[in-house]
Symmetry: C2
């Protein structure tokens, strides 16, 4: 989807969707930008402005239908169908990702785990047999994989990313604490607990 909507707005949509899922689980049918704002620590004006990029979802005073807005956000984020995703790196993080229950019903399914460690290849993580890295090219080609989670040591992350991209992966969730370079049209997001912690310690005096 080509868009003039600021990326920062796009980044907030999954947060709204997460909150709506939460409200839906609690059986709530109607919400408001005010309630969402309080839940998320974002101003209600910001939420209304963000959502207005995609058309009107609620009327002044009547609020949002949780289920309608939820479905609409799933469509906007292209997660109304499920994406297959591979995990590269079968260390502790790779294990946690293979076991992670949070992907269910949120648009993603781990379909394979790869590693180059002979001690790990062939072993099972939660039903996934760890596959050798030399098989990843064929796997990505065959299954048209577009997304990967990379949980390898920092020094290998760039090489792994290059290989994935070469075979058609277009989005990488990188767990290695290193910035990786990718060509235009390829997306990288980072999971870096230290960066998040440092964001908070800025506000805390030790």
């Amino acid at each position: 989807m080509s868009t003039d909507i600021p990326d920062i707005v796009i980044g907030r949509l999954p947060i709204y969707l997460r909150a709506l899922n939460q409200l839906a689980r609690q059986g709530q049918e109607i919400t408001s930008s005010r309630e969402l704002g309080q839940l998320l620590g974002i101003s209600s004006a910001q939420i209304r402005k963000d959502l207005s990029h995609f058309g009107g979802f609620g009327k002044q005073g009547t609020g949002y239908h949780v289920e309608i807005l939820r479905k609409k956000l799933e469509q906007i984020l292209n997660v109304d169908t499920e994406w297959s995703i591979v995990v590269v790196g079968a260390g502790h993080i790779g294990h946690a990702l293979a076991h992670y229950g949070g992907f269910v019903n949120r648009g993603f399914r781990v379909v394979a785990v790869f590693d180059n460690d002979l001690d790990k290849i062939g072993k099972k993580i939660d039903g996934f047999k760890i596959q050798p890295m030399e098989d990843i090219d064929d796997f990505i080609d065959k299954h048209h994989i577009k997304l990967a989670m990379v949980a390898v040591p920092a020094e290998y992350a760039q090489d792994v990313a290059n290989k994935l991209i070469e075979h058609g992966v277009r989005g990488i969730l990188n767990y290695a604490p290193i910035t990786i370079n990718v060509p235009d049209g390829i997306y990288v997001q980072y999971i870096d607990p230290v960066a998040e912690l440092q964001h908070m310690t800025f506000y805390l005096s030790s």
Copy 2:
């Protein structure tokens, strides 16, 4: 630190620090906003503007001293000394956090792991004996813990957060895929791989 600097700017500082660490490890002594920008996919103007909030670090045309800027960012982010941090939840994510090597030299040290599962309590993860949840209050009090990583099932995350905050924790890194409510002056950041993946799938047609 009370500040008028936008939070979005603060959130980028750890990313700059991560890139500078990367350059330092490669032995590079001088960098520029242009080089950092290329590495990070952020405009050089943005980087200069962000850093200008904290005084001048580089002169036009001479670039930044990697080590000086690195140290300065560590000071700004309050990670020039090490923070002790507890892990709550000894599941797969908790295991990965207890083992995570990425905290070293970046300002944080895991000091304890807690869980309420009798099957887990007393077992060891990478040298940490898993402690029972009923001991966490005393531990936090005694060691003046200000930061916690919460990796418990979603339905327990709010209760755990309340308990931590009551005993003085001021920053929570939440791994549960749920938004938690905290009072003013308490900080929460989220690690949610699904939100990051959804941010990317917005741009990808399936």
